[in-house]
Symmetry: C2
Subunit: 309 residues, 2 copies
Protein backbone atom coordinates (compact mmCIF):
# COMPACT_ATOMS: atom_id res chain seq x y z
CA UNK A 1 0.00 0.00 0.00
CA UNK A 2 1.31 3.45 -0.89
CA UNK A 3 2.40 5.95 1.77
CA UNK A 4 -0.12 8.49 2.92
CA UNK A 5 0.72 12.11 2.11
CA UNK A 6 1.33 14.41 5.09
CA UNK A 7 0.83 17.57 3.03
CA UNK A 8 -0.42 18.81 -0.31
CA UNK A 9 1.93 21.57 -1.49
CA UNK A 10 0.52 23.83 -4.20
CA UNK A 11 2.03 26.62 -6.31
CA UNK A 12 -1.01 28.21 -7.94
CA UNK A 13 -0.22 30.99 -10.39
CA UNK A 14 -2.12 32.95 -13.00
CA UNK A 15 -1.51 30.41 -15.75
CA UNK A 16 -0.19 27.32 -13.98
CA UNK A 17 -1.11 24.92 -11.21
CA UNK A 18 1.57 22.67 -9.70
CA UNK A 19 0.91 20.35 -6.79
CA UNK A 20 2.98 17.83 -4.87
CA UNK A 21 1.75 15.20 -2.44
CA UNK A 22 4.56 14.89 0.11
CA UNK A 23 5.46 12.75 3.05
CA UNK A 24 6.46 14.64 6.19
CA UNK A 25 10.14 14.13 5.36
CA UNK A 26 9.58 15.83 2.02
CA UNK A 27 9.52 12.71 -0.15
CA UNK A 28 7.39 13.43 -3.21
CA UNK A 29 4.66 10.76 -3.43
CA UNK A 30 2.77 12.25 -6.34
CA UNK A 31 2.90 15.35 -8.49
CA UNK A 32 0.66 17.21 -10.92
CA UNK A 33 1.18 20.11 -13.31
CA UNK A 34 -1.51 21.73 -15.40
CA UNK A 35 -1.95 25.05 -17.15
CA UNK A 36 -5.14 25.46 -15.07
CA UNK A 37 -4.08 28.63 -13.30
CA UNK A 38 -6.39 31.30 -11.90
CA UNK A 39 -7.63 32.07 -15.40
CA UNK A 40 -8.97 28.49 -15.65
CA UNK A 41 -11.14 28.63 -12.50
CA UNK A 42 -14.84 28.94 -13.36
CA UNK A 43 -17.20 30.92 -11.11
CA UNK A 44 -14.59 31.20 -8.36
CA UNK A 45 -14.78 27.47 -7.59
CA UNK A 46 -11.21 27.26 -6.24
CA UNK A 47 -12.25 24.64 -3.66
CA UNK A 48 -13.64 22.40 -6.40
CA UNK A 49 -10.54 22.67 -8.57
CA UNK A 50 -8.23 21.95 -5.64
CA UNK A 51 -10.32 19.00 -4.41
CA UNK A 52 -10.45 17.49 -7.89
CA UNK A 53 -6.67 17.71 -8.43
CA UNK A 54 -5.80 16.38 -4.97
CA UNK A 55 -8.27 13.50 -5.29
CA UNK A 56 -6.70 12.59 -8.63
CA UNK A 57 -3.38 12.44 -6.76
CA UNK A 58 -4.88 10.10 -4.11
CA UNK A 59 -4.49 12.69 -1.39
CA UNK A 60 -6.90 12.03 1.49
CA UNK A 61 -9.69 14.55 2.06
CA UNK A 62 -8.36 15.73 5.43
CA UNK A 63 -4.74 16.24 4.38
CA UNK A 64 -3.67 19.87 4.89
CA UNK A 65 -2.83 21.93 1.84
CA UNK A 66 -0.35 24.82 1.76
CA UNK A 67 -0.71 27.20 -1.18
CA UNK A 68 1.37 30.03 -2.58
CA UNK A 69 1.26 32.30 -5.62
CA UNK A 70 -1.39 34.46 -7.25
CA UNK A 71 -4.11 32.34 -5.63
CA UNK A 72 -3.55 34.69 -2.68
CA UNK A 73 -4.01 37.86 -4.74
CA UNK A 74 -7.03 40.13 -4.87
CA UNK A 75 -8.24 38.22 -7.94
CA UNK A 76 -7.50 34.80 -6.36
CA UNK A 77 -9.29 32.60 -3.82
CA UNK A 78 -8.75 34.49 -0.57
CA UNK A 79 -6.48 37.51 -0.34
CA UNK A 80 -3.34 36.85 1.67
CA UNK A 81 -2.04 40.29 2.61
CA UNK A 82 1.53 41.19 1.67
CA UNK A 83 4.23 41.17 4.32
CA UNK A 84 6.30 44.35 4.16
CA UNK A 85 10.05 44.03 3.73
CA UNK A 86 12.36 43.81 5.58
CA UNK A 87 10.88 40.55 6.83
CA UNK A 88 12.17 37.15 7.89
CA UNK A 89 11.08 34.42 5.50
CA UNK A 90 10.08 32.05 8.29
CA UNK A 91 7.33 34.57 9.07
CA UNK A 92 5.56 33.44 5.89
CA UNK A 93 3.98 30.49 7.69
CA UNK A 94 3.16 32.49 10.83
CA UNK A 95 1.34 35.01 8.70
CA UNK A 96 -0.40 32.55 6.38
CA UNK A 97 -4.08 33.13 5.67
CA UNK A 98 -6.39 30.22 6.55
CA UNK A 99 -9.07 29.49 3.97
CA UNK A 100 -12.44 28.74 5.61
CA UNK A 101 -14.88 26.17 4.24
CA UNK A 102 -12.26 24.52 2.00
CA UNK A 103 -13.28 21.06 3.24
CA UNK A 104 -9.74 20.52 4.59
CA UNK A 105 -7.12 22.66 6.34
CA UNK A 106 -5.89 25.11 3.69
CA UNK A 107 -3.44 27.99 4.16
CA UNK A 108 -2.26 30.55 1.62
CA UNK A 109 1.18 32.08 2.15
CA UNK A 110 1.45 35.88 1.86
CA UNK A 111 3.41 37.72 -0.81
CA UNK A 112 5.97 40.42 -0.07
CA UNK A 113 5.65 44.15 -0.62
CA UNK A 114 8.31 46.83 -0.64
CA UNK A 115 6.73 50.16 0.26
CA UNK A 116 8.10 53.66 -0.16
CA UNK A 117 10.13 55.19 -2.97
CA UNK A 118 10.77 51.92 -4.80
CA UNK A 119 7.42 50.14 -4.59
CA UNK A 120 7.54 46.49 -5.55
CA UNK A 121 5.63 43.26 -5.00
CA UNK A 122 6.04 39.50 -5.34
CA UNK A 123 3.75 36.50 -4.96
CA UNK A 124 5.17 33.01 -5.21
CA UNK A 125 8.85 33.98 -5.35
CA UNK A 126 8.91 34.53 -1.56
CA UNK A 127 8.12 30.83 -1.13
CA UNK A 128 10.95 29.87 -3.50
CA UNK A 129 13.20 32.07 -1.37
CA UNK A 130 12.09 30.26 1.77
CA UNK A 131 13.30 27.11 -0.03
CA UNK A 132 16.60 28.80 -0.88
CA UNK A 133 17.11 29.65 2.80
CA UNK A 134 16.09 26.11 3.80
CA UNK A 135 18.74 24.86 1.34
CA UNK A 136 21.46 26.87 3.07
CA UNK A 137 21.73 30.21 1.21
CA UNK A 138 20.50 32.82 3.66
CA UNK A 139 22.65 35.89 2.86
CA UNK A 140 23.40 37.36 -0.57
CA UNK A 141 21.72 38.42 -3.81
CA UNK A 142 19.33 36.02 -5.55
CA UNK A 143 18.47 36.43 -9.24
CA UNK A 144 15.09 34.93 -10.19
CA UNK A 145 14.60 35.32 -13.96
CA UNK A 146 11.19 35.17 -15.58
CA UNK A 147 8.33 37.19 -17.04
CA UNK A 148 9.01 39.66 -14.24
CA UNK A 149 12.55 38.94 -13.05
CA UNK A 150 13.26 39.54 -9.37
CA UNK A 151 16.59 40.39 -7.73
CA UNK A 152 16.37 39.84 -4.00
CA UNK A 153 18.76 40.74 -1.21
CA UNK A 154 18.81 38.26 1.68
CA UNK A 155 20.44 38.87 5.03
CA UNK A 156 20.39 36.12 7.63
CA UNK A 157 17.19 34.60 6.27
CA UNK A 158 15.40 37.93 5.89
CA UNK A 159 14.47 39.72 2.66
CA UNK A 160 15.84 43.25 3.07
CA UNK A 161 15.04 44.57 -0.41
CA UNK A 162 14.16 43.52 -3.96
CA UNK A 163 13.54 44.84 -7.44
CA UNK A 164 11.51 43.55 -10.36
CA UNK A 165 12.46 43.93 -14.04
CA UNK A 166 9.91 43.40 -16.84
CA UNK A 167 12.43 41.49 -18.96
CA UNK A 168 10.42 38.43 -20.01
CA UNK A 169 7.20 40.32 -20.67
CA UNK A 170 8.99 42.94 -22.78
CA UNK A 171 10.72 40.21 -24.76
CA UNK A 172 7.37 38.56 -25.53
CA UNK A 173 5.62 41.85 -26.35
CA UNK A 174 8.41 42.87 -28.72
CA UNK A 175 8.75 39.42 -30.27
CA UNK A 176 5.07 38.95 -31.01
CA UNK A 177 3.39 42.37 -31.06
CA UNK A 178 5.86 44.96 -32.32
CA UNK A 179 7.46 46.04 -35.58
CA UNK A 180 10.31 43.64 -34.68
CA UNK A 181 7.97 40.69 -35.28
CA UNK A 182 9.07 40.07 -38.86
CA UNK A 183 12.76 40.37 -37.99
CA UNK A 184 12.52 37.49 -35.46
CA UNK A 185 9.73 35.47 -37.08
CA UNK A 186 10.10 31.71 -36.95
CA UNK A 187 13.29 31.94 -34.90
CA UNK A 188 14.33 29.08 -32.62
CA UNK A 189 14.33 29.91 -28.91
CA UNK A 190 17.41 32.04 -28.16
CA UNK A 191 20.59 30.14 -27.28
CA UNK A 192 23.30 31.54 -25.04
CA UNK A 193 26.20 30.13 -27.08
CA UNK A 194 25.65 32.43 -30.05
CA UNK A 195 27.29 35.66 -31.14
CA UNK A 196 23.87 37.28 -31.28
CA UNK A 197 23.10 36.68 -27.60
CA UNK A 198 26.56 37.86 -26.51
CA UNK A 199 26.35 40.99 -28.70
CA UNK A 200 22.86 41.82 -27.50
CA UNK A 201 23.84 41.29 -23.87
CA UNK A 202 26.94 43.50 -24.15
CA UNK A 203 24.88 46.26 -25.79
CA UNK A 204 22.20 46.21 -23.08
CA UNK A 205 24.62 45.81 -20.18
CA UNK A 206 27.26 48.37 -21.28
CA UNK A 207 24.97 50.88 -23.04
CA UNK A 208 21.56 50.67 -21.37
CA UNK A 209 20.64 54.22 -22.41
CA UNK A 210 20.63 53.13 -26.06
CA UNK A 211 18.25 50.20 -25.51
CA UNK A 212 15.30 51.48 -27.53
CA UNK A 213 17.66 52.46 -30.37
CA UNK A 214 19.24 48.99 -30.29
CA UNK A 215 15.73 47.54 -30.59
CA UNK A 216 15.00 49.41 -33.81
CA UNK A 217 18.41 48.39 -35.19
CA UNK A 218 17.22 44.77 -35.00
CA UNK A 219 14.61 45.65 -37.60
CA UNK A 220 16.98 47.80 -39.67
CA UNK A 221 19.63 45.06 -39.70
CA UNK A 222 17.02 42.62 -40.97
CA UNK A 223 15.75 45.05 -43.62
CA UNK A 224 19.14 46.24 -44.89
CA UNK A 225 21.43 43.27 -44.35
CA UNK A 226 18.99 40.38 -44.29
CA UNK A 227 20.10 39.44 -40.76
CA UNK A 228 18.69 35.99 -39.89
CA UNK A 229 15.68 35.87 -37.51
CA UNK A 230 17.39 33.42 -35.15
CA UNK A 231 20.32 35.81 -34.69
CA UNK A 232 18.01 38.80 -34.22
CA UNK A 233 15.90 36.90 -31.66
CA UNK A 234 19.07 35.98 -29.74
CA UNK A 235 20.16 39.65 -29.90
CA UNK A 236 16.75 40.74 -28.60
CA UNK A 237 16.95 38.25 -25.73
CA UNK A 238 20.52 39.27 -24.90
CA UNK A 239 19.63 42.96 -25.05
CA UNK A 240 16.71 42.63 -22.64
CA UNK A 241 18.73 40.49 -20.20
CA UNK A 242 21.71 42.85 -20.48
CA UNK A 243 19.46 45.78 -19.65
CA UNK A 244 18.22 43.87 -16.59
CA UNK A 245 21.80 43.21 -15.43
CA UNK A 246 22.72 46.87 -15.92
CA UNK A 247 19.79 47.86 -13.72
CA UNK A 248 20.14 45.14 -11.09
CA UNK A 249 23.85 45.79 -10.57
CA UNK A 250 23.11 49.52 -10.27
CA UNK A 251 20.32 49.00 -7.75
CA UNK A 252 21.95 46.23 -5.68
CA UNK A 253 25.68 46.60 -6.38
CA UNK A 254 27.96 43.65 -7.07
CA UNK A 255 29.43 43.07 -3.61
CA UNK A 256 27.21 40.20 -2.50
CA UNK A 257 27.52 36.45 -2.94
CA UNK A 258 25.13 35.70 -5.79
CA UNK A 259 22.75 32.87 -6.52
CA UNK A 260 20.67 32.03 -9.57
CA UNK A 261 17.25 30.48 -9.11
CA UNK A 262 15.82 29.20 -12.40
CA UNK A 263 14.70 26.12 -14.29
CA UNK A 264 15.06 25.00 -17.90
CA UNK A 265 16.45 26.98 -20.85
CA UNK A 266 16.25 30.34 -19.04
CA UNK A 267 18.76 29.06 -16.47
CA UNK A 268 21.33 28.49 -19.24
CA UNK A 269 20.76 31.98 -20.68
CA UNK A 270 21.23 33.61 -17.28
CA UNK A 271 24.35 31.56 -16.48
CA UNK A 272 25.84 32.93 -19.70
CA UNK A 273 24.71 36.41 -18.68
CA UNK A 274 26.43 36.20 -15.28
CA UNK A 275 29.63 35.07 -17.00
CA UNK A 276 29.42 37.87 -19.58
CA UNK A 277 28.89 40.43 -16.79
CA UNK A 278 31.98 39.12 -14.99
CA UNK A 279 29.94 38.01 -11.98
CA UNK A 280 30.51 34.64 -10.33
CA UNK A 281 27.67 32.49 -9.06
CA UNK A 282 28.05 31.03 -5.57
CA UNK A 283 24.99 28.79 -5.90
CA UNK A 284 22.49 27.60 -8.49
CA UNK A 285 19.00 26.57 -7.46
CA UNK A 286 16.21 24.84 -9.33
CA UNK A 287 13.06 26.97 -9.16
CA UNK A 288 10.65 24.01 -8.97
CA UNK A 289 12.58 22.36 -6.19
CA UNK A 290 12.82 25.61 -4.22
CA UNK A 291 9.11 26.32 -4.23
CA UNK A 292 8.47 22.76 -3.02
CA UNK A 293 11.08 23.08 -0.28
CA UNK A 294 9.65 26.42 0.74
CA UNK A 295 6.10 25.08 0.90
CA UNK A 296 7.35 22.11 2.93
CA UNK A 297 9.16 24.38 5.42
CA UNK A 298 5.95 26.38 5.84
CA UNK A 299 3.93 23.18 6.22
CA UNK A 300 6.18 21.98 9.03
CA UNK A 301 5.74 25.24 10.88
CA UNK A 302 1.95 25.33 10.37
CA UNK A 303 1.40 21.67 11.24
CA UNK A 304 4.18 20.84 13.66
CA UNK A 305 2.27 17.74 14.79
CA UNK A 306 2.99 16.22 11.36
CA UNK A 307 6.68 17.21 11.21
CA UNK A 308 9.23 14.43 11.16
CA UNK A 309 10.59 13.86 14.64
CA UNK B 1 -12.78 80.22 -61.16
CA UNK B 2 -10.34 78.52 -58.77
CA UNK B 3 -6.60 78.36 -59.49
CA UNK B 4 -5.25 75.26 -61.12
CA UNK B 5 -2.88 73.17 -58.98
CA UNK B 6 0.71 72.88 -60.20
CA UNK B 7 1.42 69.80 -58.09
CA UNK B 8 -0.26 67.19 -55.96
CA UNK B 9 1.91 66.58 -52.89
CA UNK B 10 1.24 63.33 -51.04
CA UNK B 11 2.54 61.87 -47.78
CA UNK B 12 1.36 58.25 -47.89
CA UNK B 13 2.13 56.21 -44.80
CA UNK B 14 1.10 52.86 -43.41
CA UNK B 15 -2.00 54.20 -41.69
CA UNK B 16 -2.49 57.68 -43.11
CA UNK B 17 -2.87 59.49 -46.43
CA UNK B 18 -2.37 63.25 -46.60
CA UNK B 19 -2.49 65.20 -49.83
CA UNK B 20 -2.20 68.85 -50.78
CA UNK B 21 -3.05 70.49 -54.09
CA UNK B 22 -0.55 73.34 -54.41
CA UNK B 23 0.12 76.24 -56.70
CA UNK B 24 3.70 76.52 -57.91
CA UNK B 25 4.43 79.14 -55.25
CA UNK B 26 3.37 76.66 -52.57
CA UNK B 27 -0.06 78.11 -51.88
CA UNK B 28 -2.32 75.31 -50.66
CA UNK B 29 -5.43 75.18 -52.87
CA UNK B 30 -6.96 72.08 -51.38
CA UNK B 31 -6.06 69.45 -48.81
CA UNK B 32 -7.19 65.99 -47.78
CA UNK B 33 -6.43 63.68 -44.85
CA UNK B 34 -7.71 60.16 -44.42
CA UNK B 35 -6.68 57.13 -42.42
CA UNK B 36 -6.51 55.27 -45.77
CA UNK B 37 -2.84 54.33 -45.58
CA UNK B 38 -1.19 51.37 -47.26
CA UNK B 39 -3.26 49.01 -45.16
CA UNK B 40 -6.43 50.43 -46.76
CA UNK B 41 -5.38 49.78 -50.39
CA UNK B 42 -7.26 46.82 -51.87
CA UNK B 43 -5.58 44.52 -54.41
CA UNK B 44 -2.64 46.88 -54.83
CA UNK B 45 -4.80 49.50 -56.58
CA UNK B 46 -2.64 52.44 -55.53
CA UNK B 47 -3.33 54.23 -58.83
CA UNK B 48 -7.07 54.01 -58.24
CA UNK B 49 -6.87 55.32 -54.67
CA UNK B 50 -4.62 58.22 -55.72
CA UNK B 51 -6.79 59.14 -58.72
CA UNK B 52 -9.95 59.10 -56.63
CA UNK B 53 -8.51 61.34 -53.90
CA UNK B 54 -6.97 63.83 -56.35
CA UNK B 55 -10.16 63.99 -58.41
CA UNK B 56 -12.11 64.74 -55.21
CA UNK B 57 -9.67 67.64 -54.68
CA UNK B 58 -10.33 68.95 -58.21
CA UNK B 59 -6.78 68.24 -59.30
CA UNK B 60 -6.54 67.87 -63.11
CA UNK B 61 -5.70 64.42 -64.47
CA UNK B 62 -2.33 65.48 -65.89
CA UNK B 63 -1.05 67.31 -62.77
CA UNK B 64 2.18 65.74 -61.50
CA UNK B 65 2.13 64.04 -58.12
CA UNK B 66 5.11 63.75 -55.75
CA UNK B 67 4.82 61.07 -53.08
CA UNK B 68 6.79 60.16 -49.99
CA UNK B 69 6.49 57.69 -47.13
CA UNK B 70 5.86 53.97 -46.86
CA UNK B 71 4.21 54.02 -50.31
CA UNK B 72 7.82 53.65 -51.53
CA UNK B 73 8.56 50.62 -49.37
CA UNK B 74 8.73 46.98 -50.45
CA UNK B 75 5.10 46.58 -49.39
CA UNK B 76 4.00 49.83 -51.09
CA UNK B 77 3.27 50.82 -54.68
CA UNK B 78 6.72 50.86 -56.28
CA UNK B 79 9.88 50.41 -54.24
CA UNK B 80 11.96 53.59 -54.06
CA UNK B 81 15.43 52.41 -53.04
CA UNK B 82 17.00 53.96 -49.93
CA UNK B 83 19.74 56.57 -50.33
CA UNK B 84 22.68 55.79 -48.07
CA UNK B 85 23.81 58.44 -45.59
CA UNK B 86 25.74 60.67 -45.67
CA UNK B 87 23.62 62.23 -48.41
CA UNK B 88 22.50 65.69 -49.39
CA UNK B 89 18.75 66.12 -49.02
CA UNK B 90 18.37 67.85 -52.38
CA UNK B 91 19.37 64.50 -53.88
CA UNK B 92 15.96 63.13 -52.87
CA UNK B 93 14.35 64.57 -56.01
CA UNK B 94 17.23 63.58 -58.30
CA UNK B 95 16.90 60.01 -57.08
CA UNK B 96 13.10 59.82 -57.06
CA UNK B 97 11.51 56.71 -58.57
CA UNK B 98 9.06 57.37 -61.43
CA UNK B 99 5.89 55.30 -61.30
CA UNK B 100 4.91 53.97 -64.74
CA UNK B 101 1.28 53.67 -65.87
CA UNK B 102 -0.03 55.91 -63.14
CA UNK B 103 -2.08 57.92 -65.63
CA UNK B 104 -0.16 61.08 -64.70
CA UNK B 105 3.48 61.92 -63.85
CA UNK B 106 4.08 60.36 -60.45
CA UNK B 107 7.37 60.21 -58.53
CA UNK B 108 8.10 58.56 -55.17
CA UNK B 109 10.93 60.02 -53.08
CA UNK B 110 13.47 57.57 -51.62
CA UNK B 111 13.96 56.88 -47.93
CA UNK B 112 17.34 57.02 -46.19
CA UNK B 113 19.43 54.12 -44.93
CA UNK B 114 22.38 54.13 -42.56
CA UNK B 115 24.50 51.05 -43.22
CA UNK B 116 27.22 49.48 -41.10
CA UNK B 117 27.44 49.04 -37.32
CA UNK B 118 24.40 51.16 -36.50
CA UNK B 119 21.89 50.13 -39.18
CA UNK B 120 18.88 52.41 -39.43
CA UNK B 121 16.20 53.45 -41.90
CA UNK B 122 13.62 56.18 -42.46
CA UNK B 123 10.81 56.76 -44.95
CA UNK B 124 8.88 60.00 -44.91
CA UNK B 125 11.03 61.81 -42.34
CA UNK B 126 13.69 62.56 -45.01
CA UNK B 127 11.08 64.65 -46.84
CA UNK B 128 10.24 66.54 -43.63
CA UNK B 129 13.97 67.19 -43.28
CA UNK B 130 14.11 68.55 -46.80
CA UNK B 131 11.43 70.99 -45.63
CA UNK B 132 13.49 71.85 -42.53
CA UNK B 133 16.47 72.68 -44.75
CA UNK B 134 14.21 74.66 -47.11
CA UNK B 135 13.04 76.61 -44.04
CA UNK B 136 16.60 77.57 -43.14
CA UNK B 137 17.87 74.98 -40.64
CA UNK B 138 20.58 73.07 -42.48
CA UNK B 139 23.10 72.24 -39.72
CA UNK B 140 22.39 70.77 -36.29
CA UNK B 141 20.46 68.00 -34.55
CA UNK B 142 16.76 67.50 -35.35
CA UNK B 143 14.49 65.58 -32.97
CA UNK B 144 11.47 64.03 -34.71
CA UNK B 145 9.27 62.36 -32.08
CA UNK B 146 6.75 59.66 -32.93
CA UNK B 147 6.04 55.95 -32.98
CA UNK B 148 9.67 55.55 -33.98
CA UNK B 149 11.39 58.79 -32.94
CA UNK B 150 14.30 59.90 -35.11
CA UNK B 151 17.28 62.06 -34.11
CA UNK B 152 19.03 63.34 -37.21
CA UNK B 153 22.33 65.15 -37.62
CA UNK B 154 22.38 67.69 -40.45
CA UNK B 155 25.49 69.34 -41.82
CA UNK B 156 25.14 71.90 -44.58
CA UNK B 157 21.92 70.38 -45.90
CA UNK B 158 23.21 66.79 -45.74
CA UNK B 159 22.11 64.04 -43.37
CA UNK B 160 25.33 62.70 -41.86
CA UNK B 161 23.82 60.26 -39.34
CA UNK B 162 20.63 59.37 -37.50
CA UNK B 163 19.18 57.07 -34.88
CA UNK B 164 15.70 55.72 -34.28
CA UNK B 165 14.17 55.07 -30.85
CA UNK B 166 11.06 52.89 -30.43
CA UNK B 167 9.56 55.29 -27.88
CA UNK B 168 6.00 55.67 -29.15
CA UNK B 169 5.54 52.03 -30.05
CA UNK B 170 6.82 50.87 -26.65
CA UNK B 171 4.50 53.34 -24.91
CA UNK B 172 1.51 51.94 -26.79
CA UNK B 173 2.51 48.30 -26.27
CA UNK B 174 2.98 48.84 -22.55
CA UNK B 175 -0.15 50.95 -22.17
CA UNK B 176 -2.48 48.55 -23.94
CA UNK B 177 -0.91 45.09 -23.92
CA UNK B 178 1.16 44.66 -20.77
CA UNK B 179 0.64 44.10 -17.06
CA UNK B 180 0.75 47.91 -16.73
CA UNK B 181 -2.60 48.15 -18.52
CA UNK B 182 -4.70 48.29 -15.34
CA UNK B 183 -2.40 50.85 -13.72
CA UNK B 184 -2.96 53.33 -16.58
CA UNK B 185 -6.49 52.34 -17.60
CA UNK B 186 -8.80 55.18 -18.55
CA UNK B 187 -6.06 57.77 -18.13
CA UNK B 188 -6.20 61.05 -20.03
CA UNK B 189 -3.42 61.56 -22.60
CA UNK B 190 -0.21 62.43 -20.69
CA UNK B 191 0.36 66.14 -20.00
CA UNK B 192 3.80 67.67 -19.64
CA UNK B 193 2.85 70.01 -16.78
CA UNK B 194 2.41 67.24 -14.23
CA UNK B 195 4.67 65.88 -11.52
CA UNK B 196 4.23 62.40 -12.99
CA UNK B 197 5.68 63.33 -16.38
CA UNK B 198 8.60 65.20 -14.80
CA UNK B 199 9.36 62.33 -12.39
CA UNK B 200 9.14 59.72 -15.14
CA UNK B 201 11.36 61.79 -17.43
CA UNK B 202 14.01 62.31 -14.74
CA UNK B 203 14.05 58.59 -13.95
CA UNK B 204 14.48 57.57 -17.59
CA UNK B 205 16.97 60.31 -18.44
CA UNK B 206 19.17 60.06 -15.32
CA UNK B 207 18.86 56.33 -14.64
CA UNK B 208 18.26 54.61 -17.99
CA UNK B 209 19.66 51.29 -16.75
CA UNK B 210 16.75 50.99 -14.33
CA UNK B 211 14.07 51.50 -16.99
CA UNK B 212 12.48 48.05 -16.88
CA UNK B 213 12.46 48.18 -13.06
CA UNK B 214 10.82 51.62 -13.16
CA UNK B 215 8.16 50.14 -15.45
CA UNK B 216 7.20 47.46 -12.94
CA UNK B 217 7.13 50.06 -10.17
CA UNK B 218 4.27 51.76 -12.04
CA UNK B 219 2.22 48.66 -11.39
CA UNK B 220 3.45 48.22 -7.82
CA UNK B 221 2.70 51.87 -7.00
CA UNK B 222 -0.83 51.39 -8.29
CA UNK B 223 -1.31 48.12 -6.35
CA UNK B 224 0.19 49.27 -3.05
CA UNK B 225 -0.54 52.98 -2.93
CA UNK B 226 -3.51 53.29 -5.27
CA UNK B 227 -1.57 55.68 -7.53
CA UNK B 228 -3.99 57.28 -10.01
CA UNK B 229 -3.94 55.99 -13.61
CA UNK B 230 -3.48 59.48 -15.07
CA UNK B 231 -0.33 59.99 -12.98
CA UNK B 232 1.00 56.54 -13.85
CA UNK B 233 0.35 57.13 -17.58
CA UNK B 234 2.22 60.44 -17.38
CA UNK B 235 5.08 58.67 -15.56
CA UNK B 236 5.15 55.98 -18.27
CA UNK B 237 5.25 58.62 -21.02
CA UNK B 238 7.96 60.59 -19.21
CA UNK B 239 10.00 57.45 -18.57
CA UNK B 240 9.96 56.38 -22.23
CA UNK B 241 10.83 59.89 -23.46
CA UNK B 242 13.52 60.24 -20.79
CA UNK B 243 15.07 56.97 -21.93
CA UNK B 244 15.06 58.29 -25.50
CA UNK B 245 16.83 61.51 -24.42
CA UNK B 246 19.42 59.51 -22.46
CA UNK B 247 20.15 57.48 -25.59
CA UNK B 248 20.02 60.31 -28.12
CA UNK B 249 22.35 62.54 -26.11
CA UNK B 250 24.76 59.60 -25.71
CA UNK B 251 24.73 58.78 -29.43
CA UNK B 252 24.75 62.34 -30.79
CA UNK B 253 26.16 64.44 -27.93
CA UNK B 254 24.73 67.78 -26.88
CA UNK B 255 27.01 70.17 -28.75
CA UNK B 256 24.79 70.89 -31.75
CA UNK B 257 22.12 73.49 -32.32
CA UNK B 258 18.89 71.58 -31.81
CA UNK B 259 15.50 71.67 -33.48
CA UNK B 260 12.23 69.97 -32.68
CA UNK B 261 9.99 68.82 -35.51
CA UNK B 262 6.56 67.77 -34.26
CA UNK B 263 2.83 68.54 -34.38
CA UNK B 264 0.09 68.50 -31.78
CA UNK B 265 0.28 67.26 -28.17
CA UNK B 266 3.55 65.39 -28.69
CA UNK B 267 5.28 68.69 -29.49
CA UNK B 268 4.34 70.02 -26.04
CA UNK B 269 5.61 66.89 -24.30
CA UNK B 270 8.95 67.08 -26.13
CA UNK B 271 9.35 70.81 -25.45
CA UNK B 272 9.00 69.98 -21.74
CA UNK B 273 11.50 67.14 -22.19
CA UNK B 274 14.11 69.44 -23.78
CA UNK B 275 13.68 71.88 -20.90
CA UNK B 276 13.96 69.10 -18.30
CA UNK B 277 17.14 67.82 -19.97
CA UNK B 278 18.63 71.32 -19.85
CA UNK B 279 18.80 71.53 -23.64
CA UNK B 280 17.74 74.65 -25.50
CA UNK B 281 15.82 74.55 -28.74
CA UNK B 282 17.09 76.78 -31.53
CA UNK B 283 14.07 76.10 -33.76
CA UNK B 284 10.63 74.48 -33.66
CA UNK B 285 9.06 73.10 -36.80
CA UNK B 286 5.58 71.85 -37.55
CA UNK B 287 5.80 68.31 -38.96
CA UNK B 288 2.86 68.73 -41.37
CA UNK B 289 4.21 71.95 -42.78
CA UNK B 290 7.71 70.49 -43.19
CA UNK B 291 6.60 67.48 -45.20
CA UNK B 292 4.62 69.79 -47.49
CA UNK B 293 7.58 72.14 -47.91
CA UNK B 294 9.87 69.17 -48.58
CA UNK B 295 7.52 67.72 -51.20
CA UNK B 296 7.23 71.16 -52.81
CA UNK B 297 11.03 71.56 -52.94
CA UNK B 298 11.29 68.14 -54.60
CA UNK B 299 8.46 69.05 -57.02
CA UNK B 300 10.28 72.19 -58.12
CA UNK B 301 13.41 70.21 -58.83
CA UNK B 302 11.55 67.45 -60.71
CA UNK B 303 9.34 69.79 -62.73
CA UNK B 304 11.41 72.94 -63.11
CA UNK B 305 9.16 74.04 -65.99
CA UNK B 306 6.40 74.59 -63.41
CA UNK B 307 8.55 76.39 -60.82
CA UNK B 308 7.69 79.96 -60.03
CA UNK B 309 9.89 82.34 -62.02
Amino acid sequence: MSRRAAYALVDWGTTSFRAWACASDGTVLNERRTPEGLTGVIDGDFAGVLTRHLAAMNVAGDTPAILCGMVGSRTGWVEAAYLSVPTRLDDLANRATPVPSAGRPVHILPGLAQRGDAPDVMRGEETQLLGVVADGFDTGLVCMPGTHSKWVKLDGGAVIGFSTFMTGELFQLLRTGSILRQAVEGAEPPRPDTDGFAEGFARGFRHPAEATNALFQLRAGWLLDGAAPSGQAARLSGLMIGLEFAGATTVHGTGDRMALLASGPIATLYEAAFAAAGLSLARRFDADQCVRHGLLAAAHRLHSDRSPT
